[in-house]
Subunit: 339 residues, 2 copies
DNA sequence: TATCTCACCGAAAACGTTTTCGAAAATTAC
DNA sequence: GTAATTTTCGAAAACGTTTTCGGTGAGATA
């Protein structure tokens, strides 16, 4: 338990603490012979530098904070993984916090991370966050911050996103090219930019293919739940029996709609094609399996960390950071729910 | 950026650092008036103690490590959540690491956490871990360690588990009570104790109801995948067309089997009832929905942290820790796949 | 012999906090 | 008015590391 320190090594070897420290770190002004002696003893005593002392001295923790809206979520879980794996390569450990889509939590947690002196923060804004002073303060305090997925244009920092609008356009186009004439869209509360962009992408695709946009074909899922989709699936086909394609802004809701529509005895994809968004795990196991847009969480996590790491280094070197916006490519995953 | 320190407060107030420190921490030997002055100035300067210095001094980080075999997994994601939420209540932050079911990673990560001087470690053993020296070393080094879910009986520390054997017995009994006569079991590689226990629970239930155990009714999924289940579902009914119940050791595999069997035109649950294990999210969205055993990940995470926290306090107070085994209750969730 | 160079090492300050212990000041008791 | 007590404060050590800067001695040069 009482872990070995530089001092002990120095004393047993009859040399100074400074020499031991430098020997261990390979300073050039220490002779090879003492380096050897020190390193051997250190290894045999199983010496490990005290991270507290190191941090106090160097003012860095090799720790980053990751704020996630919701961990139990396939996409976000993938992001965590990407971040952790990438961070490990650079010797960083990751503190994970969950905002639970709450502004209050988000604010508290940023504060916690600031007080812990993490070297940088990765954050995806909660759906309920509408002003950004709390984030701005952290950035202004000199803390490297990178936003991912749910971002705000008004924040001046790097962002890792997918091209939601383009991806949604691709998804809708996919339906059009496979013969869908009347395509409904299930959207969500228009708070996060991602939802807005997917809605716009839907419109873009219609416009490009000369299909007139009908406002009444756009439905809203308030809770982003399976049950919402289940209800909306039915509603859509009651309101518009001739709808032959549905593009949902997220897989879970699409899954609900798909299930209900199948239960109604409507053939998927023959009568109605369905397209989701995100490529959650569950898209592979619905009946029929769900076509969707693959949103590469793992990759996003990796890129987010890489960018953060770059900015941490720059901050240390007193360089000026100029924010970058990195778009991660998505791709259509065709399964059975579209012909 | 240059954050305010005790020293600065002391200087502007013309008092000593010691007094400032004690004033902020409410020591009784500081007059109310100076306490007030200090606290006001501290607040107005937005003072926050430097966590590095605090840690160096107190030898504790208020950080715990959480090693998870796989983050992208409904059950484990829930555990993370439970741990983080509970830890927050006590002022702890959580470093999350993923062993990826690899012994090497597990070992490395324990080392990383040890070097980071976390106050305690929560770990679920990887499936590939067969000897436990690396964990034992950490425990022997005086680090509080609590195992959860995938544990080893040979490690002398607290453990948070479910009663896998009992739960599996309940699940099988559920099938029996609903009229199943010939029940197959899909098991996994018999490495983790959980898998073994579920297998034993299956046998227990058969025995209790006077049904003779038939070895050929036990199948093995090597990869714990949907595809495995899909293949095994068919295999089971080819080998034994009169099987009227299947108990799978995990939901994902059950889902595969369920899908294949439905596609074969066999009625679920009328001809074959299917029971899963874990209550993953996907059990709610299969067709028909999957009956299963609810494995309360969130709760387990909470309990695991609580126990760890207790042991951290005891370690600090030099008390002897006597390991506890905490069993979290499970419950049967009946859905459409059993009648 | 005196000076210079170089390789090697150590003293000491610094990071910011906590806490012990003693001292000074204020209060009370007699 | 002195002694005893209590209140209030501060000096200083400690936690373990990193790094600057100066010092020592040996060898080389003049």
């Amino acid at each position: 338990m009482p872990s070995v320190t530089l001092k002990e090594i120095a004393e047993t070897l009859g040399i100074s603490i400074a020499t031991v420290s430098k020997a261990l770190k390979g300073y050039p002004d220490i002779s090879e012979s003492t380096k050897q002696r020190v390193q051997e003893l250190a290894k045999s005593l199983n010496y490990h530098p005290n991270s507290f002392a190191q941090s106090l001295r160097t003012q860095q923790s090799n720790l980053i904070g990751l704020i996630i809206p919701e961990i139990v979520h396939h996409f976000f879980a993938n992001i965590i993984q990407g971040v952790i794996d990438e961070a490990k390569k650079e010797g960083y450990l990751v503190i994970v916090l969950q905002s639970d889509e709450s502004y209050i939590h988000e604010k508290e947690q940023l504060q916690l991370l600031l007080e812990k002196n993490v070297d940088g923060i990765l954050i995806s804004l909660s759906d309920k966050t509408v002003h950004y002073k709390h984030v701005k303060e952290v950035i202004d305090a000199g803390m490297p911050v990178v936003l991912y997925d749910k971002i705000s244009k008004s924040l001046d920092c790097s962002k890792i996103i997918i091209d939601d609008r383009g991806a949604a356009k691709d998804a809708t186009t996919h339906l059009i090219l496979r013969g869908c004439q009347k395509i409904a869209h299930i959207s969500g509360p228009l708070k996060p930019q991602t939802t807005i962009d997917r809605y716009l992408g839907y419109k873009d695709a219609l416009k490009e293919h000369g299909i007139s946009f009908q406002k009444e074909l756009v439905y809203t899922s308030e809770n982003l739940s399976y049950e919402d989709g289940y209800a909306l699936g039915e509603q859509i086909l009651i309101d518009h029996p001739d709808v032959d394609g549905i593009f949902s802004f997220t897989d879970l809701v699409a899954t609900g709609a798909l299930t209900k529509i199948r239960e109604m005895g409507i053939k998927i994809p023959d009568q109605v094609s369905i397209m989701g968004f995100s490529n959650w795990f569950l898209a592979r196991i619905t009946t029929p399996t769900l076509s969707t847009v693959d949103q590469p969480g793992y990759r996003m996590g990796q890129e987010a960390f890489k960018q953060l790491c770059k900015e941490i280094k720059m901050t240390k070197d007193q360089e000026i950071i100029l924010p970058e916006i990195i778009k991660i490519p998505t791709k259509i995953v065709q399964r059975q729910s579209t012909r």
